[in-house]
Amino acid sequence: MKLIIAIIQPYKLEEVKEELYKADVNLITVSEVLGHGRQKGVTEVYRGAKETGNLLRKIRLEIAVNDNFLEPTIKAIIKGAKTGDTGDGKIFVMDLKECIRIRTEERGSTAIG
């Protein structure tokens, strides 16, 4: 099992969701976050808005998947979020030790989907 955390441009959320549905990944958690990468907040996305040094608004996705869903999920996120410009974001993948569905108390890979 893997936990994927992706940071993307806010306006790309709809497209990423769209691609994830197509890849049959339906369980995601979305939150609004602030941050900046190597450019320290200078970005072209906001049309030259004076954002220097400021934190930029991003969307953070958390998706827990079974191993066989890892690559399709990563591909879907890239397909939806990539523009080729700075600020497109990042995807982090980590091992997931356990997953428990509260309602049924199921554990492991059956609990994820």
Partner: protein, 409 residues
Amino acid sequence: MINAGDTAFVLISAAMVMLMTPGLALFYGGMVRRKNILSVLMQCSVILCVLSVQWVLFGYSLCFAPSNGFFGSLHWIGLNGIGLGPYDGYAPTIPHQAFIIFQAMFAVITPALIIGAFAERIKFSAFLVFSILWATFVYAPVCHWVWGIGGWLRNYGVMDFAGGIVVHTTAGIAALVTTLMIGRRKNLEHNVPAPHNLPFVVLGTAMLWFGWFGFNAGSALAANGVAANAFMVTNTAAAAAGLVWALLEWVRNGKPTIFGTVTGAIAGLATVTPASGFVSPLSAIAIGILASICCFIGVSIIKPRFGYDDSLDAFGVHGIGGMLGTLLTGLFASKAFNPAGADGLFFGNPKQFFIQLYAVAVVALYTATVTFVIYKLVDVFMGMRVKEKDELIGLDLTQHRERAYTVIE
């Protein structure tokens, strides 16, 4: 002969109508997604600025300067020669300028109503040009036809007390035409945009409801019985309509909503506008009920069926309400409530209903045609719609480089 009471009343009414445009801004602004609220507030605010100036320069003259039946003359351009006295042709007991500033607020809010049709995807520069052209070539002539001295619909006998035709039919039809021409917003299928701030919608409604007393009662242009009756029927129709919309939702969807209730109230206000100086308080209840039923059908059944994206229901509420109200005026009008008016069909004068019907049809046709031409022109030269990426990022950032809300301080 200037009357102090009338003058004070009309000036205060003008100030109340002014407040309706910021009220409309919040009413609409609360309905859009949070990335677009400033664009809506900006559009309403800039209309207040631009059309107030246009009004003094030539707008008022085109609307109200006596000439032929179709277009006002340029006699009062720049408010030339108006002075401090009254103008007997429109309102003999108040200064001419009181009438002018009162009417200015109507000219401001009318194009602002259309914003609901193309919200969240209009290019700001194109919107500005479109609005000025529309105010000049749609609002001004129709206003002259219905309210101007010598206006052909006025002479024909049409009754429009406070703007069911001049304001709501024109804005509503223009909303329908522009929403069809600009097309649907992106990504509607999977992500139906929910209003981002319903308390703003309620606040905006409160400001509109309050201002509407100036709009309708003030249209008596004197502090008299007709004004008091207009005030009464305005409140009554709004209340009845708000109540009925909530009940319709309760029955159809299982729960009454505040969004529906205030939408109903606005539908009632728009619908009673043309009738407000001519009908009884009891008729106002009937008008309010019919307003909500018809607008509810327009918004909840017709719009989804045909699939046009009238984002904030400018046509569904103001257009349908304004046209319906103009027709209902031809049914419910009674000389007992305004000796200067006429009786409607229910009071033995069926002819009035057909006069109203004819006027609405002609104005709707004219508005649709000229709005289409203006839209096409501006679209060819400037492009009316923003680029897809700008729409996704939101108009606040891409059109105004501002955002309304922060995440963390």
